[in-house]
């Protein structure tokens, strides 16, 4: 049997591009001309495994796991600098969101363990109260993601608390049931 260490087509996922393409806002992705404006504009470009431009070429070529397991998507801080500059008007930030969701759903968010923990806790908070409750969010997040690093958060917490900026009690919206009904309906629709 011959052997050559190259990337074989059989290991690539050629449906990945269309998967992203078919999402609302994903349409422009096929138009990328690999100019690099996004990477050059990204504040985190340097620390990412692959800067945004390369993410697009990886998606095109079908390197599904490389994309979903990269730290890139978790380093995106949603500043939209890339998206606002992209000459092809690709909604880059929105694509990053889509990748985050797929990664979380498929359990590929290893490098985004903390970010996904924070996001999930945030969602739990909103679903519970209708609003975010900073204090509880941070407490839950630290417990679930960084229990050994809890002390790190204390000084900031104190600075907020001592200046009267950290309410201890959550605010629950009156019609939380309505919000939940809406969410439940979305859930049903997404299932279909």
């Amino acid at each position: 049997m011959l052997e050559r260490e190259v990337v074989y087509e059989s290991v690539l996922d050629h449906d990945f591009l269309d998967e992203i393409y078919s999402l609302p806002g994903g349409h422009e992705i096929k138009k990328c001309i690999q100019c690099g404006t996004c990477s050059g504009s990204c504040p985190q470009g340097a620390v990412m495994d692959y800067a945004p431009r390369k993410i697009f070429s990886l998606i095109r070529a079908g390197f599904r796991d490389e994309v979903l397991e990269s730290n890139t998507i978790w380093y995106c801080s949603s500043c939209y600098s890339c998206a606002v500059r992209c000459p092809k008007e690709i909604k880059i930030t929105d694509v990053m969101y889509a990748l985050k969701r797929i990664a979380i759903k498929e359990g590929k968010a290893k490098k985004g363990r903390k970010a996904s923990a924070l996001s999930k806790n945030f969602v739990r908070m909103v679903n519970k109260y209708g609003r975010n409750h900073e204090t509880e969010l941070m407490a839950r997040y630290i417990l679930s993601a960084e229990p050994f690093n809890a002390l790190n958060f204390v000084p900031q917490g104190w600075r907020l608390f001592s200046n009267g900026r950290l309410p201890l009690m959550p605010h629950k919206i009156k019609n939380i049931e309505q919000l939940r009904k809406i969410l439940k309906k979305i859930d049903e629709l997404e299932e279909m």
Partner: protein
């Protein structure tokens, strides 16, 4: 004689047959009223296809023709000619477009076939009611108007003049020459731009067949092919052209200061005098100065008059006014050229804010040996840059600005690299997305540059900043860019950055196009008659295009198109007569009550009210057949020939029946 319609269904290879069930369509057509003959053929437009129709007409089998094939915009003319050759009036023919608007755009064979049937039935029903129309011919005025005196206009005007035809060349600037007059060298051969352009400019100025109207603008165009009426505004120069001998005494002594362009610290870069009375550059044709009234001291406070004093020929006249000149021509060549994209809106490139960020045109003038820097490349502080970045695709290939590729930037950018390397000892970076070196000798030029140690970085520049992070960046412009081939974001400190601004349609083009009734595409350029087969003609007969008014072009392509346009004009003039639209509107005087509703509807003023008869009358020579008046006529007295109500009603019935 009853109607005997022949229906000819074209396969167009598989273009139609691949999506439309031809057999079914043929069977269907056979069953339609008045259809006496149905044939199918692989390519109706081919010689054998055409002969098929011609023979059927000649044999007396049919007296009306329907061809179901491509778009009438493609082949209506072809098949009309077939009818004429066969001895049938060409207006007894209709095309059913079952390709562009049917087989090419739909997927489902059954439904596409159904649609084809509907379109054919519509055509058949309409054809039954069509009436023969007589061709009209009008004489062609052999004089031509050329709008724009850049290299395109110059070339077109000279070609025509050399053929012995009269030309009026209108240029809105004080001199002809256009952008090419500002260039030092031209790619890829590096010829001296002035050396090749100046002789042509001089011939224009001296040619007995060319009437040059510089510092003039076209105000109005009326009429139609072969017979256009043109009104030109000759702007006042405040200098009598008949007296002035171009000695230059006036601008040498003028105390006023004119700013050639607004933008940044380089706004005074100029290839001509920056005085208030000026010629745009030394080789100007005509070499007659113009007073810039905005900066002239005389016009500001009446306190000067030096130019008039020094003029030995008393050519200065501060009271001169604009003149309107009217004349007639038979054809028009639009050669309004381009303007460069203004990069000010792209804030992240800092143009206008960062002194040493220049546009391509500024850099071009800076390089021009006869310009204000004497061809020396200098920073705002006068010193020589040690490193220069050249940024490609500024305003091009970008949905926020222009989606198209400006086509010339890659090559002029490479030319800059070469000029810089030739003139000074500086590092040069080319920041590009793709290098498009497609013309004759272009790739070879790129190859040459690769050997000249130019640093190529593949990546669109994200940002140009003056905020340093490293010591070496202090006092420099820093380009942030992803080097996409390396996959790293780089920061590159530079002394000067040149923005390769794209080409866009000249701001005057939309007005000119409106005057000539030609369409502008969404890119802002003129839409040619056909992108491949009619690149110099427009949708308006008698109006042709040359150069960058059609799309961004380099000099060789522009010159080629200009010559093509002039030869198209020549072939038209040589015919001396031209057929014009027969499908005009006409008024049935027995029905018209003279309500005057139609009188204001005609954009060509072809409808006049006849006081004596008390009815409105259409001047068919002026009518272009739009049919607006017919639709507005409340009494059905006006009919739009070939688009009569009953014909369209029949079409509606047909299109909905199958």
């Amino acid at each position: 004689m009853s109607e005997r319609i022949g229906v000819y269904v074209c396969h167009c290879g598989t273009n139609i047959a691949g999506r439309v069930d031809i057999d079914e369509v043929v069977e269907f057509a056979k069953g339609l009223d008045a259809v006496t003959l149905v044939r199918e053929y692989k390519f109706m437009c081919s010689d054998p296809g055409q002969s098929l129709i011609q023979k059927d007409i000649e044999d007396g089998l049919i007296n009306r023709v329907v061809v179901a094939s491509c778009s009438p915009l493609m082949h209506e003319k072809t098949f009309r000619n077939v009818c004429t050759r066969g001895g049938l009036n060409e207006y007894l023919f209709t095309m059913a477009n079952i390709r562009e608007q049917c087989s090419w755009v739909h997927v489902d064979v059954e439904r596409t076939t159904d649609k084809a049937k509907g379109l054919i039935e519509a055509a058949v029903r309409r054809t039954r009611l069509q009436e023969p129309l007589t061709k009209r011919e009008v004489p062609i005025n052999p004089r031509t108007l050329v709008i724009g005196g850049g290299i395109a206009g110059i070339q077109a005007a000279l070609d025509l003049a050399e053929a012995g035809k009269k030309v009026v060349l209108v240029e809105k600037e004080p001199s002809i020459g256009g952008h090419m007059a500002k260039f030092d060298k031209t790619f890829p051969t590096l010829d001296c731009s002035a050396c090749i352009l100046t002789p042509k400019m001089v011939s224009v100025g001296q040619h007995e067949n060319i009437e040059l109207m510089s510092w003039s603008e076209v105000e109005d165009i009326g009429g139609y092919v072969g017979n256009f009426n043109v009104t030109v505004r000759k702007k006042t120069r405040y200098v009598d052209a008949d007296l002035c001998n171009g000695c230059g005494a006036c601008w040498e002594k003028c105390p006023g200061t004119r700013v050639p362009r607004k933008g940044n610290v380089h706004e005074k870069l100029s290839i001509g005098p920056t005085t208030s009375i000026y010629i745009p550059f030394m080789q100007a044709v005509p070499a007659i100065p113009v007073i810039d009234a905005d900066t002239c001291i005389r016009f500001k406070n009446g306190k000067c008059g030096i130019c008039a004093e020094v003029c030995e020929r008393n050519a200065i006249n501060y009271d001169m006014e604009d003149e309107l000149i009217e004349f007639e021509v038979g054809s028009i060549i639009i050669a309004t050229g381009f303007q460069t994209f203004d990069p000010t809106p792209i804030k992240r490139y800092g143009y206008g804010k960062l002194d040493n960020v220049l546009t391509a045109i500024e850099f071009e003038i800076m390089n021009c040996a006869s310009g204000s820097t004497g061809g020396n490349i200098r920073m705002a502080d006068g010193s020589e840059p040690k490193s220069i970045g050249i940024v490609h695709c500024v305003g091009s290939r970008d949905k926020h600005y222009h989606e198209y590729c400006s086509r010339v930037c890659c090559m002029y950018a490479l030319k800059y690299s070469h000029l810089i390397k030739e003139k000074i000892d500086a590092e040069v970076y080319e920041f590009y997305i793709d290098l498009r070196c497609f013309g004759k000798g272009y790739e070879e030029f790129y190859d040459r540059l690769l050997g000249e140690d130019v640093r190529f970085v593949r990546g669109k520049v994200a940002e140009i900043t003056e905020v340093p992070i490293e010591e070496a960046e202090k006092g420099k412009l820093v380009v942030e860019v992803e080097d996409t081939l390396v996959g790293k974001v780089r920061r590159i400190p530079l002394d000067m950055v040149v923005l390769c601004t794209g080409l866009e349609a000249h701001e005057s083009l939309a007005d000119i196009a409106g005057l000539c009734s030609v369409s502008i595409g969404k890119d802002g350029f003129i839409i040619e008659k056909h992108p491949k087969l009619g690149p110099v003609a427009t949708t308006t007969d008698g109006v042709f295009i040359a150069g960058a008014c059609q799309s961004p072009k380099d000099i060789p392509d522009t010159v080629a198109q200009a010559s093509a346009a002039s030869s198209a004009v020549l072939s038209m003039i040589t015919r001396e007569k031209i057929e014009i639209e027969s499908a005009t509107a006409s008024v049935d005087e027995d029905k018209c009550s003279g309500c005057k509703i139609c009188n204001s509807l005609c954009p060509y003023l072809a409808i006049k009210y006849d006081e004596e008869k008390g009815v409105s009358v259409v001047n068919e020579a002026l009518c272009k057949g739009c049919g607006t008046c017919a639709a507005g006529c409340p009494s059905n007295a006006i009919s739009a020939k070939h688009f009569e109500d009953r014909q369209i009603f029949a079409e509606i019935e047909g299109i909905l029946s199958a």
